[in-house]
C-alpha cells in the first residue's frame, strides 16, 4: 500500500514536470510577448512598440537570456515552489495565487458538492421513480444541463435570479449569496454527466442476481438500490468525479468571468491575456498538482468501496 502510494506520487511528479515543460515551451512558441503587451495601451490604442524600450524591459525581466537557461532556472525554482514575480504587477506570484485561491476553492467545493448531491439524486430518481415517463424526464433534464454551455447558463441564471428576482448579487465573492449562482452554473454540466453514467451502471447492477436475492429477502426497491447496487455502480462514477475536479478548474475560467468573481479562473484569463509567464506557469503547476492528488485520492478510495479491488504498484 505504501509502496503503491510512493510509486503513484513518483508518477505524479513526472506528470507535473511534463506539464510544466510543455507549458514553458508553448508559452515561448505562441506569438507575442509580455513586453509588448506591457508597453501597449489597451482598448486598441497604439499597437506598436519602440524596440529599444522593449529590449530594456526585456533585459529587466530576464527574458533576454537564452531559452534553455531560462528553462533550467525555472525548473530549479519551481522545485522549491518559487515562481518568481508577476510580469504585469511585479508582485510575488505566490502572493497573487494566495489572493485568488480562496474564492476559487470556495466555488469549486460548492460546485462539487452540488454535483455530487444532485447527480446522485438524479441518477437514483431516474432509476427508481415509479413511472417510465417520470424517469426519462429526470434523465432528459440532466442531459439538457450537460448540453447547455456554461456561459449561457450563467447569463440566464443572472437574468432570472439576480436582475429579475433580485435574490442573489450578480458579481463579487465573499459571502454565501454570491456563491449560489456561480456554483450552480459551474455544477450543471457535471450533474448531467454524473447522473447519466451513474444511472446506467445502476441499471446494470440492479439486473444482477444479488439484487434479486436482496429483494427476495424482503429489501425494498429503494433499499436494494441504495444499500446494495449503488456501491457497486459507484466505481465508474468515482473515476468520472476525479476527472471532473480538473474540469471544474477549467470551468472556473468561464464561470468566474461571467460572475465577475476574483479567483484562479479570472487570474488565468488575465495572465494569458497579459502573457504573464510566471503566473501562468504557477497556475499550470497548481492545476497539475491538484489533478494528480485528486486522482490518487480517488484510486485509494476504490478498495474501500469495492473490497474486490486490490491496489498494486504497476
Amino acid at each position: 500500500m505504501i509502496r503503491y502510494v510512493l510509486v503513484r506520487l513518483g508518477n505524479g511528479l513526472f506528470v507535473l514536470w511534463a506539464a510544466l515543460t510543455v507549458s514553458f515551451l508553448v508559452l515561448h512558441l505562441v506569438p507575442g510577448d509580455p513586453v509588448s503587451v506591457m508597453l501597449r495601451g489597451n482598448g486598441g490604442e497604439a499597437s506598436s512598440v519602440d524596440p529599444a524600450a522593449a529590449d530594456a524591459l526585456r533585459a529587466e525581466l530576464g527574458l533576454d537570456r537564452p531559452v534553455h537557461e531560462q528553462y533550467l532556472d525555472f525548473v530549479w525554482r519551481a522545485a522549491r515552489l518559487d515562481f518568481g514575480t508577476s510580469f504585469t504587477t511585479g508582485d510575488e506570484v505566490r502572493a497573487v495565487l494566495g489572493r485568488s485561491l480562496g474564492p476559487t476553492l470556495e466555488l469549486a467545493a460548492a460546485a462539487l458538492l452540488l454535483t455530487l448531491v444532485l447527480g446522485v439524486a438524479a441518477a437514483v430518481a431516474g432509476t427508481l421513480l415509479p413511472k417510465a415517463p417520470l424517469r426519462s424526464a429526470v434523465l432528459s433534464a440532466t442531459v439538457v444541463g450537460n448540453a447547455v454551455p456554461s456561459f449561457w447558463t450563467g447569463i440566464v441564471l443572472l437574468q432570472v435570479f439576480s436582475f429579475g428576482l433580485g435574490w442573489f448579487p450578480a458579481y463579487g465573492a465573499g459571502d454565501l449569496g454570491q456563491l449560489v449562482l456561480p456554483a450552480f452554473a459551474l455544477a450543471l454540466p457535471g450533474i448531467g454527466t454524473l447522473a447519466q453514467v451513474l444511472s446506467r451502471s445502476l441499471r446494470t447492477a440492479l439486473a444482477d442476481p444479488y439484487v434479486r436475492t436482496a429483494r427476495a429477502k424482503g429489501a425494498s426497491r429503494l433499499r436494494a438500490t441504495t444499500a446494495h447496487a449503488l456501491r457497486n455502480a459507484a466505481i465508474p462514477a468515482m473515476t468520472l468525479f476525479g476527472l471532473m475536479v480538473g474540469g471544474i478548474v477549467a470551468g472556473a475560467v468561464i464561470t468566474e468571468t461571467v460572475f465577475s468573481r476574483p479567483g484562479l479562473g479570472t487570474l488565468t484569463a488575465n495572465a494569458i491575456g497579459g502573457h504573464d509567464f510566471p503566473v501562468i506557469r504557477a497556475l499550470v503547476f497548481l492545476a497539475g498538482a491538484l489533478y494528480v492528488l485528486v486522482n490518487l485520492a480517488v484510486d485509494l478510495v476504490y478498495p474501500k468501496v469495492d473490497p474486490r479491488i486490490v491496489l498494486r504498484a504497476a
Partner: protein, 536 residues
C-alpha cells in the same frame, strides 16, 4: 482660429411606461448635492496598477485622477490649460524653460507639504523610472533639470523646445506624489503604496478585481473643473470589475451598482430608454480612428490612390451597422473632442464617383473580369490589412470596408493575426493599418503623422519633410492661437496627401442611476468622483 468641440451629455429619460415597478422616474439629480454614502461603480476592466505614471491605460489613469492631482488641468470644452496645483506659469521664449508658481496650501495624504522641491522630486522620479513610466518619460524627452527657485516656484528646464510639455502636466502620466513615496519599489507603487494630494485615498486594492477609495476630509484644492471645491460628497467609492457588458448593465438596472462605464453599443439605446437611468456619452480626444496607408505599400505610393480610398468609404454605414450609431462619423484628422480639431467634412466624405475618377487618373483605369482595377502593367489594385483578431467589431468594420471598396474596384484582403510582430512602423506588414492614439493636445498629430518615433509615427523611415517641419513647429510654439493655425495646416496636408483615412470618432458611454447626481467628466472622459453625490 482654434476650433473646439465638447463632450455631449446625452440625457435620456424614457417616456411613457407609467406605473412600472420600483421607484419610477426619480428626479434626484435636480436636487442639491448631498454628502455621504458609498458610490458603487462597475469597471469594464479593473486596473492591474493604480500608479498612473506606470500605465498608459485609461483605467489606471481614471484611478490616478482620484488619488492624485496635477500641476495643470484642461478645460474639456475648449482644451485650454487651466491652473490647478500651479496657479500660474511662464514659458521662456525658446520654449525650453517652464516656470510654475505653486499653491502653498496643498498637503499630501502623508502630511507632507506640496512645494517646489516636491515638483522637482516628481519629475526626477519619472526620469528614474524611465520606460517604466512610458508616457511621462516621453513627455519629458530632453529633460535637463528642475530648478527650485523658491519654496513655491519651480522651473523645469529642457535641452530643446518642448511646447507639448505644458499640456502633459495636465495628464495623469505626470501626477504629483509625496516625495517620501517616490523612492518606493515600482511594484509596490503599482499596488498603491504612495501618498498624494487627491480627493480620495486608496483604502483597498485587489489588482484586476476591485478598488476602494475613501475621501480625504481636509481636501480643499479641487480641480477648477469641479463645482465642489471641498471634500468629496461621497464618503467612499467601491469600484468592482464586471467584465461582461450585459452583466454590467444588468447590475446597474437591478440596483446593484450606481454607475457603470463602457455601456455596450448594442445595448446603449435600451438603457437610455429605461426609466430611471441616464446614459452620458462623450467623444474621446484623440486622432479619429483611421485607416492609415503604409508608406511601404507599393500600390499606395501616390496621393490620388490614397485619397480615393477615403472617398470610397461610407462612414455613416460603418458607424450605423458596426457600431450601432454609438460612435460618431469622423469629420477630420482629429476627433471633435480634441483641442485643435479642424472640421474637414468637405474632404472627409463619401463620394464613390469622385473616388473612381481619382483611381482612373492614378492609372488604375482598367477593370478586370473580377471587378478589380488594374494599371498599365496589369497589376491588380489589391490591398491587405493585417490586424489583431481580438476585437470582433474592428473585424466587422474591415469586412464592411471590403465590400465598400470592392464597389469601386479595390480589393481588400483581410489578414487576421493573433498578435502583431514587434517591429517598427516602417516594417509593418500589409498595405494599411488602423491606429488610435489619445492625447488632449494637437501634439498627437506630431506623434502619429511625423517620422520621429519608431513606435508611434506612421511615417517613420519615410519622412515628408514639409509635414515634419510643420509638426516640429508645434514643439516651439506655445501661443494657443498660433499652435492652432499650424495644426490646421498640418491637418489639411494630412488629408490632402491621403496620409490618413479617418473613419470614426470613438465615444465612451457611462450609464447611471438617476439617484446619482453631479456626474461630470474631464477631457479624457474620466469621471470626477469628488463631484458625484448620491440622493438619499
Amino acid at each position: 482660429m482654434l476650433a473646439v468641440s465638447f463632450a455631449v451629455l446625452l440625457t435620456a429619460c424614457g417616456g411613457g411606461s407609467g406605473g412600472g415597478g420600483g421607484g419610477g422616474a426619480a428626479t434626484a439629480d435636480a436636487g442639491e448635492p448631498v454628502d455621504g454614502g458609498t458610490l458603487r461603480y462597475a469597471f469594464n476592466a479593473a486596473p492591474d496598477c493604480v500608479d498612473s505614471r506606470q500605465r498608459p491605460q485609461l483605467n489606471s489613469r481614471m484611478i490616478g485622477r482620484q488619488l492624485a492631482d496635477t500641476l495643470t488641468e484642461q478645460d474639456p470644452e475648449t482644451g485650454e490649460i487651466l491652473p490647478w496645483l500651479a496657479t500660474s506659469w511662464e514659458v521662456s521664449d525658446d520654449v525650453t524653460r517652464f516656470t510654475f508658481h505653486l499653491r502653498d496650501d496643498v498637503t499630501f495624504s502623508d502630511g507632507a507639504a506640496f512645494d517646489a522641491e516636491a515638483v522637482q522630486a516628481n519629475f526626477d522620479a519619472i526620469i528614474e523610472l524611465g520606460v517604466q513610466a512610458p508616457q511621462g518619460f516621453s513627455f519629458l524627452a530632453g529633460y535637463q533639470e528642475t530648478v527650485v527657485e523658491d519654496a513655491y516656484t519651480a522651473t523645469v528646464v529642457f535641452e530643446e523646445a518642448n511646447a507639448q510639455f505644458l499640456q502633459a502636466t495636465a495628464t495623469q502620466s505626470l501626477v504629483q506624489y509625496s516625495p517620501a513615496s517616490l523612492g518606493n519599489d515600482p511594484a509596490d507603487l503599482c499596488l498603491g503604496d504612495f501618498a498624494a494630494s487627491g480627493p480620495f485615498t486608496l483604502d483597498e486594492f485587489t489588482p484586476e478585481t476591485s478598488v476602494r477609495l475613501v475621501r480625504r476630509d481636509d481636501y480643499a484644492w479641487a480641480s477648477p473643473l469641479a463645482e465642489n471645491q471641498g471634500a468629496a460628497h461621497v464618503e467612499a467609492v467601491q469600484l468592482d470589475a464586471i467584465p461582461e457588458g450585459s452583466v454590467r448593465q444588468g447590475a446597474l438596472t437591478s440596483g446593484q451598482v450606481d454607475l457603470i462605464e463602457a455601456v455596450q453599443p448594442a445595448t446603449q439605446a435600451q438603457l437610455a430608454d429605461t426609466p430611471g437611468f441616464t446614459v452620458a456619452t462623450s467623444a474621446l480626444p484623440a486622432i479619429a480612428i483611421p485607416y492609415i496607408p503604409l508608406p511601404s505599400s507599393p500600390r499606395l505610393r501616390d496621393a490620388e490612390t490614397r485619397r480615393a480610398l477615403s472617398l470610397a468609404l461610407d462612414r455613416d454605414a460603418i458607424v450605423g451597422a458596426v457600431y450601432n450609431g454609438v460612435h460618431a462619423t469622423a469629420t477630420g484628422v482629429l476627433t471633435t473632442a480634441n483641442p485643435g480639431y479642424l472640421d474637414q467634412s468637405d474632404e472627409v466624405r463619401y463620394d464613390p464617383e469622385a473616388a473612381a475618377g481619382l483611381l482612373d487618373r492614378a492609372g488604375w483605369d482598367t477593370v478586370g473580369d473580377d471587378g478589380i482595377r488594374r494599371n498599365a502593367d496589369g497589376e491588380r489594385l489589391s490591398l491587405t490589412i493585417t490586424y489583431e483578431s481580438t476585437d470582433p467589431l474592428a473585424e466587422q468594420q474591415h469586412q464592411l470596408v471590403q465590400q465598400q471598396w470592392a464597389e469601386v474596384g479595390i480589393e481588400l484582403g483581410l489578414d487576421p493575426v493573433a498578435t502583431f510582430p514587434d517591429v517598427t512602423i516602417d516594417e509593418y506588414p500589409g498595405d494599411l493599418t488602423t491606429w488610435s492614439q489619445t492625447r488632449g493636445d494637437v501634439d498627437v498629430l506630431r506623434l502619429v503623422y511625423s517620422s520621429f518615433d519608431p513606435a508611434y509615427s506612421m511615417r517613420y523611415g519615410n519622412p515628408d519633410e514639409e509635414l515634419n517641419e510643420l509638426l516640429n513647429a508645434l514643439q516651439t510654439t506655445v501661443d494657443p492661437e498660433e499652435r492652432g493655425a499650424i495644426a490646421d495646416q498640418a491637418q489639411r496636408l494630412i488629408i490632402e496627401r491621403g496620409y490618413a483615412i479617418p473613419v470614426y470618432d470613438r465615444v465612451s458611454a457611462y450609464g447611471f442611476d438617476d439617484g446619482v447626481g453631479g456626474f461630470r467628466t474631464d477631457l479624457e472622459a474620466k469621471p470626477l468622483l469628488n463631484e458625484v453625490w448620491l440622493a438619499p
